[in-house]
């Protein structure tokens, strides 16, 4: 199969959906040149630096029959439009009793490791998970982002796609033809029998690397990418934990009230799973500090393979 980058897969998804449906429009502070060229300045609109206005406009256009795609660029720029996302867009379908649909795809980049300090290195998806009414995806491979983005554009609801900056150049197999992936379906990226790791976004790749290492040491690790955090496919995760009895969740975002806390809670509050747990479930998360600029500190506060490995060793206990 052909290999393309995560960034290319993203672009292809949008191009295909723009071709498929004339109602799709795009707004951003920067013009994506390929989209602009093919679809023109009416559909691919350059916005002022006024995120509240254009996120709100995306909502209004969506409620009036269009399909809005908004690229906010870095997640840190989203906070100035927070009310429009969490108080308007997330609630508007519900408040009005489902009268209208609001197909809006919001894209934001996330992640540390780029040495851009506290404001520009964040992964704030948990803040949005705490807001009912939004759907949230965190694709980690070219194949997944293409399929999920295409579905997101066709969803009659707001979807936020969080894309780790460091994934953009990542290559992966993507079929030539049309395909879509459902939201709310976790993907077992590697089968295993001793430990379940759930890993979000870029952490998937680190988790897979650790799984590879552990195999050599006789520990069989199952690695699951939830891909979509809302809706969350907790059943696939539970099935895995029921089998392995050991559980680690890995998330680059900071720990407190993060996605990892939620996944851990959902797994352990299930009576059946709780009984099957052979060891204490663990989180491997970013530390609860703003992301520092200087690499030695930055590396220290975000999870890496060593930390994932240590957690796996802990849950496996004497076995490893």
């Amino acid at each position: 199969m052909r290999k393309i980058t995560y960034a290319q897969a993203t672009l292809e998804a949008l191009q295909e959906e723009f071709r498929r449906d004339k109602r799709v429009i795009h707004m951003s502070n920067d013009i994506p040149p390929e989209l602009r060229e093919e679809f023109g300045e009416e559909r691919v609109r350059l916005t002022p630096i006024a995120e509240s206005a254009f996120v709100g406009a995306a909502t209004g256009a969506a409620g009036s029959g269009f399909i809005s795609v908004v690229d906010l660029r870095m997640a840190t720029f989203g906070f100035v439009a927070m009310d429009q996302m969490v108080n308007q867009l997330a609630k508007i379908t519900y408040m009005f009793g489902g009268q209208a649909r609001f197909p809006v795809l919001l894209r934001m980049s996330i992640g540390a490791g780029i040495h851009m300090a506290a404001q520009h290195s964040i992964s704030p998806y948990a803040m949005y998970m705490n807001v009912p009414g939004l759907k949230i995806i965190t694709p980690a491979t070219p194949y997944d982002i293409k399929g999920l983005l295409k579905t997101a554009v066709r969803d009659p609801n707001p979807v936020i796609c969080f894309e780790h900056s460091l994934l953009a150049p990542l290559e992966g197999e993507v079929p030539d033809g049309e395909y879509t992936l459902p939201l709310g379906e976790a993907d077992v990226k590697r089968k295993g029998s001793d430990v379940t790791i759930v890993a979000i976004s870029k952490m998937l790749h680190d988790a897979l690397a650790v799984a590879g290492e552990m195999e050599k040491r006789g520990v069989s690790v199952e690695v699951i990418d939830p891909r979509s955090l809302v809706p969350l496919d907790i059943n696939t995760i539970k099935k895995s934990v029921a089998k392995t009895g050991r559980f680690v969740v890995v998330d680059e975002a900071c720990r407190t009230c993060g996605a990892a806390a939620e996944i851990l809670a959902r797994v352990t509050e299930d009576e059946d799973i709780f009984r099957k747990l052979k060891s204490t479930p663990r989180r491997v998360c970013g530390l609860d500090v703003p992301i520092p600029y200087s690499p030695p500190m930055e590396d220290y506060v975000i999870p890496d393979r060593a930390k994932i490995r240590a957690a796996v060793e802990k849950v496996v206990g004497s076995q490893a």
């Binding site: 206005a53 709100g56 406009a57 256009a61 009036s64 308007q88 508007i92 009268q99 066709r154 009659p156």
Partner: protein
Amino acid sequence: MAIDNAELIRMYRTMLTIRRFEERASKEFRGGSVPGLVHSYIGQEAIAVGVCFNLRKDDRMVSNHRGHGHLISKGADIRRMMAEIYGKRTGYCKGKGGSMHIADFSIGILGANGIVAAGLPIATGAALAAHLEGGDRIAAVFFGDGACQEGEFQESLNLASIWKLPIIFVCENNQYGVNTHYQYAIAGGSIPRRARAYNLPVRTVDGNDVVAVYEAAREVVARTRTHVGPYFLEFKTYRWYPHFESDAIPDLRPREEIAAWKKKDPIKRLAKRLLKEGVATARELEAINEEVLGRIDEAVKYAVESPLPRPEDALEDVYSTQGIS
């Protein structure tokens, strides 16, 4: 161009419908039959009516927290509005929205909003849709002097202006945001000046004179239908009631000021005109009042007799299930 008599009578009836609706909603709230709270539109009726009577059903309108008047003027069904305020399943939003969040997308009402100024970007998006559709539809958004203090106000005017969107920004300057006078909160004390800075043409009109409102809106709506860009209308007016029905926030506005403005009652003013110009007799006006009161009673009856939502209905509508293609 004169407004024809039938239209004047329709405007009178609608203003009176708003007035009676609000009086009744306040009473029911104070009496405990209505949950939540109600921001009364009384005193400002001429604005919603004068503007919305120039809008078509397929024009899109966005409202704010003080929205009942806007909805009624755009053609919303007062029975379903009242049912919503009563929190009933037959309400516009199945009891999910309440007074502050009523919408009727089928007639272009994109909804009221509890966040000051948050409707402006949404309306700008509705205007963007109209622009992309390429017809002559337009959008209108109602908001208060208080909304002119929020960043979203400026961002929306700017966006509508540079994209030349077909939208009318309707500022109901009732002079206060809760108890804060706009002359305190708005540097320079002029809202039109602010709008002009974003390159919008502006007109300020007496918001208690429905004929003046109607005529200004007629011209502005016609202009906006040609998609030459946005327009800003400021209407000077006053709210008669406290910020909302509930004693949680005292009304600190000067009593004499309130009394003086009550003398400028937009409904009495139109009534006087109708009588003077022989458009209607006192008896005819009284008949309209009776008819309106009857319809309000009927709306309340509808609301009271409607079933409450089932508790589990709360789980529906978090996401839309409407197909998109």
